[in-house]
Structures are given as structure tokens and as C-alpha cells.
Amino acid sequence: MAEPSTAEPDTVIATRALTKRYRGGQLAVDGLDLSVPAGSVFGFLGPNGSGKTTTIRMLMGLIEPTSGAARVLGQPMPRATRTVLPHVGALIEGPALYGFLSGRDNLLRYDSADPTADPRTRRTRVAAALDRVGLTAAAGKKAKAYSLGMKQRLGLAAALLQPRRLLVLDEPTNGLDPQGMREIRSLVRELASEGTTVFLSSHLLDEIEQVCTHVAVMAQGRLITQGPVAELAAGARGRLVVTTPDPGDAARVLKEQGVSDVVVTEDRVTGEPPERDLAEVNAALVTAGVRVRGFGLERASLEDAFVALTGEGFDVAG
């Protein structure tokens, strides 16, 4: 029997060979081994249809895995939903609200659904959550009259009704304006600094790069890689960039020096750096009489790493 979390004591989410095949036969998640360290801001990356939401549904006990096991806060899911979920706030596939209720009444309802929430402090909790997402002024308005961004904020407020140990956010910045996105990012940082582990699914790379400490990349239901963001970005090697008024000569010399995939664009020559010391490559250029204006390595972004891992294509896998 898989008991992933006992091996790693400070793991908030641990899955072992987690697999989900939907009733239609679609294999949405395939043998996922995920390990989310406590206190991390964990980015869960993947193109559309790669199984992010499906994984989150299994972690939240909404759907039963076809095989494999998942532990959240050290407890098996979906068996321990009642003990685990009061400590977990979640935003899954966008907010869902009662349009005929006001924003405040929506939160009162979600709060009363939690049997561990004290009814005596319910209104205080709701007011604090509304305040945290900046909705206090619109709290009395019917939710159907909310804009997409306001709905997203209200959904987030529902996830923040209680102090949480884990926050699961499935594409939280969907529909938000740039200002709203920034607010979410600072909120995530704030929560993380309070000790909440944040599990954040997204396909916006810069979002992940800006707030996440760790990242996992999914494609077609399989986990491609996971680890600290810095490691992943470092894994994809940077490119050697030479700026010169003599690009033709530079390209020839670089090839002689073992640089592969040489590309010339006007006065820029780029290529995959060789194993040898780059100082020698530079010396060779100068010796050959190539005038060099700039010489250096361009650091790989997470985007390069992501594309390298999942392939350039924008097509959704069937």
C-alpha cells in the first residue's frame, strides 16, 4: 500500500502513482508522483488538458482516483475529507456563486457548510475575508451583478474564510485585470509568509516565475519534472550571444570552436555554448580578428525550460 507522506515528514501533498481515467475512457492523469513541501509556493504548470484540474479534484476528494494514492496534510484522500478539508482553502476551475444571494450571503453559506466553523464568529470571519480581497464595498450586491474579476475575488474570499494550512488555487488570476493579478500575487506571498503552503495551477509562466518557489510541469497527464524553480530554469542551458559588426566571420569561428546551432540575426550571433571554457572561445574570436562588441550567456527563462519540456506546439493533446 502506498504511504507516500510517512517517508517525507514535511510534505503537504504527496501522491503515489495517482491515475485517473474518466468514464469516457479519457486518461487524464497518468501515474503522478507529486511531492509538495510544506511552506512552499508550488506552481503546477501544464498546457490545456494536461490534467491539472483533474489532479486537484482528486486531491480535494471530489473524484475518486482510478488507481494510486494521494495524501493531503498527511491524511489519505478522499477518505479523510472531513478532517483535512477544514484546513484547506480551494479555488477550483473558477468561482461558483449563488447569483441570487449577495456576496456576503454567499460567504455565509459556504462558511456554514463547514461543520468546524463556529457560528458565533461567522459574520466576523466573513467580513474579514471580504476585506482581504477588497470586496467590502460590494458585499451587499447580488453576486449575479458581479464582474468576472469580482466573482474571482469572492471565490478567493471563500477559500480564505479560515486560517488555512494549504491553499489550492486553480488558475486564480483568470479574468483579472493586471492590477488584480498583482494583488493576487502579493496575497499569495503574504499567505506564504504566514506559513500557508500554496498550490497554484497556471499556464501563465511569468506568474509562476514571480511567486513560486517550486514548480511541477505536466503534459498529457504525466509529470515531466518537479523541483525548485531555480533548478528547473538552470536545467535549461542558456545561449551564447555574440554581438559583432562581423557576423559572418564570427559564425565561422564559433563553429570551429564547437558552438552548435549557430544562428545569425543582423549583428547578433547566437548558439549552444560548447563544454569548454568560454574565455577560450572569446580569445579565438579576437585572434581571428573578429571585432566583438558583446559576449555573454543569455540566461534561460522558465519559458524556455517549459517549451523544452512540453514541446513548442500549441495543440491540445486529445
Partner: protein, 304 residues
């Protein structure tokens, strides 16, 4: 998924070592009723619920006015046709309560229940709010029980709305006083009022079966409209089948078969047999379809 939900209060940190507990909460068992309270209030505040209750309240008004107009020239109401007790209304307004319940029980009341029960789970799934209730975590069994309890409360409220509206209209349009039972004996107005209350309870209890049926249908689909339509469709089908003589041997198992037994409360002495049969049948429906709904809902993948 609720198959083995562990009880509250288990230490969540078991097996996680360094993860700290943030704010240990000691929930009181009474807090679990917060959802029921919220559900009742939310249901009664919905436009749709108010409209349904409005239609139900209008039925006795229409019947009362129709009888008043028809009998204004001294003729007797009903002329042998129409719902039970209609001929007596002109003598005693209290009979409007019995007539209104007899008129709404075959269709209006169960249709209203079918709408509320059918929408119970499917409507939440449709709106996506079901997933948030479940991660709150409402608990699947608790949510289902809350929904059923609310539907049953609505059965009582809907029946009382008809009865009270009828009583008010009856008192305004017709004289009140002693009344004659079906058996021909006279009873005081006070006792008549008591019987009217019992009849309202019997009518409300007659709706237990369709409430359970509607709840079960509601767990089968993610479309509130489809669940409501299916439940009301089943209601009409059963009513039609109950009229076909060839199905004689099956009919005692139709949830509507003993519905009109409430009239036996107007006999003196009361004839209880069919009333008990009705209660037993409603209990059977509640047990069978309640269990089916539970089995379905606690194992269902919630993807909406």
C-alpha cells in the same frame, strides 16, 4: 467517498511531523446544523420558491371565488362534480380547506415538491456550487440529509400555505360553524379545525415519497432543469398508470395510490387503515429512494 469519512477531531498532523497545526478548533456537534438553517433560509428566499408558494396560495382563492359566484343565485355548488367537499363550502367555510387540499394534492403540491427536490443536488452541480460545498467540507451524507430535511420542511410549509390561505378565504366568504362529517355526525367547529390540521399533516406526509424520488433523480444528473422535469414527468406518469384497471396489482405500490385517504379523517370514527397504508408506503419510498440517492451521491465523481 463518505464511505469511511473519519470523525472530526482526529489529529490531522498524524504522520506529517513538522507541519504545524494552525488554530486548533474544537467544533461543537450543534454547529453541524448551521448548514440546515442556511439551506432553509436560502431556499425560502429564492424567487422560485416564493412563486411556487404564491401559486399554491392562489388555488383556494380561485376555488373560493368560483364557488361564491356560482352559488350567488342560491344554486348549490359542485352539482355532483368537482373536488371532494366542494358542495359543503357554502354552508361552512372550513370545507374550503378540505376542498383546496383535495384540489392541490394530485398535481400542484407534488409538482412544487418535485421542483424543489429535483433541483436539490442537480441545481448545485449545475451552478458549480456543489464542489465548493463539498470542499468546505459539507460532507456528502450531511449535505444529502440537509437537502432532504429541507425538502420535507417545504412539504409542510407548502401544505400549510394551502390550508391557511383556504381557511382565511373560507372565513371571509362563507359562514363558519358546526360541521357534518362524511359519516353524517355533527362535530363542533373547534374539532373541525383540529381535523383540518390533521388532514394538512396527512397531506404533507403524502409528499414524503415523491420528495425522496425527486432527490434520487437529482443525484443522477448535473442539470437542475432535467431533474425537475423528470420528477414531474414521473408524477404525471404514475397518476395516469394509477387509472389503468389492467395494472390493478401494481397500483398499491404507486406513491400516489393512497393519497386521497386523508378524506377518511373526516369520518366519525376516523377510518385509519388507508391512512396507515399511505404512511407505510411513503416510508418505503423514503427508505428505498433515500438509500439509492445516498449510494449514488456518496460515490459520484463531482466534475461539474
Amino acid at each position: 467517498m463518505s464511505r469511511a469519512e473519519t470523525t472530526d477531531g482526529t489529529d490531522v498532523t498524524a504522520g506529517t511531523g513538522t507541519v504545524e497545526v494552525v488554530g486548533v478548533r474544537k467544533p461543537s456537534p450543534l454547529w453541524t446544523l448551521g448548514l440546515l438553517r442556511n439551506e432553509l433560509v436560502t431556499t425560502l428566499r429564492r424567487w422560485r420558491t416564493i412563486a411556487l408558494l404564491g401559486v399554491l396560495a392562489a388555488v383556494p382563492v380561485l376555488v373560493g371565488i368560483a364557488v361564491k359566484i356560482e352559488t350567488s343565485d342560491g344554486a348549490s355548488a359542485g352539482g355532483g362534480g368537482g373536488p371532494a367537499f366542494i358542495a359543503q363550502i357554502t354552508n361552512n367555510g372550513l370545507f374550503l380547506v378540505f376542498t383546496a387540499l383535495a384540489a392541490t394534492l394530485p398535481f400542484f403540491l407534488p409538482m412544487a415538491i418535485g421542483v424543489i427536490a429535483g433541483d436539490a443536488i442537480a441545481g448545485e452541480a449545475n451552478a458549480g456550487t456543489l464542489r465548493y460545498l463539498l470542499v468546505a467540507p459539507a460532507g456528502r451524507t450531511r449535505l444529502l440529509l440537509t437537502k432532504y430535511a429541507t425538502t420535507l420542511a417545504f412539504c409542510v410549509i407548502a401544505t400549510l400555505v394551502v390550508a391557511v390561505s383556504a381557511l382565511i378565504v373560507g372565513a371571509l366568504l362563507f359562514p363558519l360553524g358546526e360541521l357534518t362529517t362524511i359519516s353524517g355526525t355533527r362535530i363542533s367547529f373547534g374539532e373541525g379545525l383540529g381535523r383540518a390540521f390533521l388532514i394538512a399533516l396527512a397531506v404533507a406526509a403524502s409528499l414524503i415519497g415523491i420528495a425522496a424520488l425527486g432527490l434520487f433523480v437529482s443525484t443522477l444528473t448535473n442539470s437542475g432543469i432535467a431533474a425537475m422535469a423528470t420528477t414531474v414527468g414521473l408524477l404525471i406518469t404514475i397518476q395516469i398508470l394509477d387509472q389503468i384497471p389492467q395494472l390493478h396489482s401494481l397500483q398499491p405500490y404507486f406513491f400516489s395510490h393512497y393519497w386521497l385517504s386523508f378524506a377518511d379523517l373526516m369520518r366519525d370514527p376516523v377510518y385509519w387503515d388507508d391512512l396507515y397504508r399511505n404512511l407505510g408506503l411513503q416510508g418505503l419510498y423514503a427508505a428505498v429512494f433515500g438509500t439509492a440517492a445516498w449510494a449514488r451521491f456518496t460515490t459520484k465523481d463531482i466534475t461539474a
